[in-house]
Symmetry: C2
Subunit: 497 residues, 2 copies
């Protein structure tokens, strides 16, 4: 029995002759009589082939294989799918792909939902090379993640070679031997099984694996393979991994630091992924200094590194307008003390950027780069040392508490003077909810003209100290709210009647 | 005897009949045989007219008056001018108007100098209505300014009516009586003498008076006079005040909050000023949400209010490129706790903006809005309560110490990766000076490739705690400088040989 949204796996024996990674194709089209899902099987060494399938509807799914290896061809496979258990919501999709009929369709284009319709609000973190560290560190990373507020991890398939990252990993995606080096036509099954194990462990923690397929931090040649090898690798990765419900495809980290790959290459990669991934997991591509054209139809959400040193998460407003898709600021600089400006801001400033971005209807990704520790979270994982993760938990809770149809207040000539200086997330259609975030502003008080005929419960949130103070009574009409003249405060108003 | 750059005044008796403010014109063209300066005299009530003249070259200057009042016409006036005493540098001009021959002409277009060639770096503050407060407060303001780091004050000629500013002043620019209200055709000599007294007192403190000629914070009608009255007022103000060497003309504060005045009106005002002010004092116009077109030839420097809540002084780089003139960010938000976002940032953030702007080759203006005090500095003057003024003094000293030809480092593809995250003021032509400002970044160290063949003294500046730590020895080649992992640090390198 296969649980809905989890995957079914069927092993087949076929030829081990020649190079099956290159030579053998194996497909299976699963159908429950209503829908058909065509998957690609993949080779796992020693004549073993696997067919995986993630049913998204309970019932009986059957497939007949098709292959150029007679041993693998014309085999009937049956998958019995039972409904998802509690906590299993399926993969994440753009919200308007799942519930386009909802009344908040205008806003839903900027958000995500699980396949079962439940809300998903990404609060990611970054551990690029965590699966390439010694096993003990990987276990520590999982333990840390279990207690951290993050529900997405950006992580690389290829190992990473970069400042503070110079140790060779134990395993590589490709086979190698001492004499010939890497064989770029054969995949190391141990590497992939290990990676899959980690992806599954993340899934068990409710964490999405934002898999980075290519990146430039490389001494082994993985960033400079020829296009045929790129595609062989890409097909193999997608055929194996697309059945994990928590997989996202990040085509690249800092694609523009690999100028030897053209935009046409990236577009080809994108379409290769789309052709091989029958489910349509989330797809994006992450920049260094030049944003990719996130209006491209294949991009499900903009995965952005801020390109301005100063104005970062505040640009969510502009990016939403530009791209009309969910905005995930996967790098807005990290808390830390590294010598580079991308990783040495305070926890306070990091948290401020998170709040700014969230109240503007975007999502942020965390990272931490304290270089005095042996493991630096942003790359190795391990342990968190920074001051902002617990505060991000408070923010995540606050955002989960916001109505699903809350949207950033759009400035108009009419509301400009009351709102130009403080971003607001609200339900403008029924005035039921307002969340104002003050950031570095420290007003002694703030005045509001509350919507006519409405009464509100008002809470004062200290986003840094993680306190919520309910102000006594109900508020209506023209009101003045006294504030503590501190940075990082927020005001939340909920309509009482 | 008149000291160079100070003004000579000659009183004449003429008609008091009719309305001399409207009816009588009086001119005098002073010449020392080489240069001729045409000034306009002005009426001061009770049949008294004054002719003022600010000689900028020592020697004997003579003029013969010309007037439509026979009593004022054809009178010979002589002014004996002696050289300026120490500390008297004359009026401030764009630097390249004074020393266009200098080798740093490329950079000098962004800076100021006194008429005598000495450097002037504006570190302004804002006391819009200080001359309209009770006398005791005005004296307190002068005392505060005497001990403050500011060498420019933004101040309004018209009184101000606005939040926290609702008290009527004692005197107005126009005459009034209880029965008829204001007579917009007659100027109150006491008002103007008082204003001049304050301008002279500022001058004695080495402070420029950045006079705001129009502003929208008004209940008396001064912001909505007809164009003829505007011009009558403007001519009178210029004829009287242009002889003070420390006067700047700020056509408006937040010109765009007076939409009933057209761009053509402002252009007419500008040209009226240029026609009446024979010296050519500095001219600009200050915006609220829409920057004026500071490329206009009459504008000597851009007087900017930041239009983005988040990215403020950092835009100096873009504004320099756009306007090719000195950039003075007269409002980048103020330290304080007022309910509005334009006046409730911390002293730390205010100082950060000052440093960012200065290292980028611009200038900033201070303001303070702590509303718990009876006098709020930004408007009333009085006493300073904030945390940033003493730190601005440290910055001013640092900038005065920078070589005159220091310019912001321009990012190029070659220097990008070493400099994208930290602005730098430097002497790139001879590598003699580098000032790096780290702002909110807190690197544990920073590495530099020093220019070949050069050795440097290196200092660590804590811009908030106002300390300068000279690092031991001299530095050359590839170096690493350890930093204290605190915000608001700077590194200064001076070539030793």
């Amino acid at each position: 029995m296969t649980e809905q949204y989890k995957f079914f796996e069927h092993l087949l024996s076929g030829t081990a002759a020649g190079n099956p990674y290159m030579d053998i194709h194996l497909e299976a089209a699963f159908t429950d009589g209503r829908e058909t899902v065509k998957v690609n099987g993949f080779y796992c060494d020693q004549g073993i082939y696997r067919i995986r399938f993630m049913p998204e509807t309970p019932g009986v799914w059957t497939a007949v294989t098709s292959s150029n290896d007679p041993l693998l061809d014309n085999i009937t496979i049956t998958c019995h799918c039972v409904p998802a258990k509690e906590g299993n919501h399926g993969r994440v999709l753009p919200k308007n792909a799942i519930c386009p009929q909802k009344e908040d369709a205008e806003e839903s284009r900027f958000h995500f939902a699980y396949k079962d319709g439940n809300r998903y609000q990404p609060f990611g973190t970054t551990c690029y090379a965590w699966t390439h560290q010694p096993g003990k560190i990987q276990e520590q990373t999982l333990l840390t993640l279990k207690n951290a507020p993050f529900n997405k991890v950006r992580m690389c398939i290829f190992p990473k070679f970069y400042t503070y990252n110079t140790t060779d990993p134990e395993k590589y995606p490709f086979c190698q031997d001492a004499e010939h080096g890497f064989d770029f036509t054969r995949f190391d099954p141990e590497y992939w099984e290990h990676l899959e194990h980690r992806i599954a462990q993340l899934d068990a923690l409710g964490i999405e694996a934002d898999l980075i397929l290519f990146h430039p931090y490389d001494k082994w040649g993985f960033s400079k393979m020829d296009i045929h090898t790129d595609l062989l690798y890409l097909r193999y990765a997608v055929d194996r991994l697309c059945h994990f419900k928590n997989v996202w495809w990040s085509l690249a980290n800092e694609y523009d630091l690999m100028p030897w790959k053209s935009i046409d290459d990236w577009e080809l990669f994108a379409h290769t992924i789309m052709n091989r991934d029958p489910y349509g997991h989330l797809r994006s591509i992450h920049n260094c200094t030049t944003l990719y054209d996130h209006t491209r139809p294949w991009i499900t959400h903009a995965s952005i590194q801020r390109t301005d040193v100063y104005k970062t998460a505040e640009n969510v407003t502009e990016w939403r307008d530009m791209y009309q898709k969910p905005i995930v600021v996967d790098e807005c600089s990290y808390e830390g003390n590294i010598c580079y400006g991308w990783g040495n801001i305070t926890g306070e400033e990091m948290l401020r950027r998170f709040w700014e971005g969230c109240v503007r209807g975007g999502y942020l990704t965390h990272g931490e780069v304290y270089t005095q520790y042996e493991q630096i979270w942003w790359s190795h994982g391990g342990t968190l040392h920074g001051t902002c993760p617990s505060r991000i938990a408070f923010l995540r809770k606050t955002m989960a508490d916001a109505p699903e149809d809350a949207a950033p207040l759009r400035l108009t000539p009419q509301n400009h003077w009351a709102n130009w200086d403080v971003p607001c997330l609200c339900c403008a259609h029924d005035n039921s909810y307002f969340l104002y975030y003050f950031g570095f502003s420290r007003p002694a008080f703030r005045e509001y003209e509350l919507p006519e005929g409405c009464s509100y419960e008002i809470e004062l949130l200290d986003t840094w100290n993680m306190t919520t103070e309910k102000l006594p009574g109900l508020y209506s009409g023209s009101i003045r709210i006294m504030l503590p003249e501190k940075q990082y405060m927020a005001i939340r108003m909920k309509k009482s009647f």
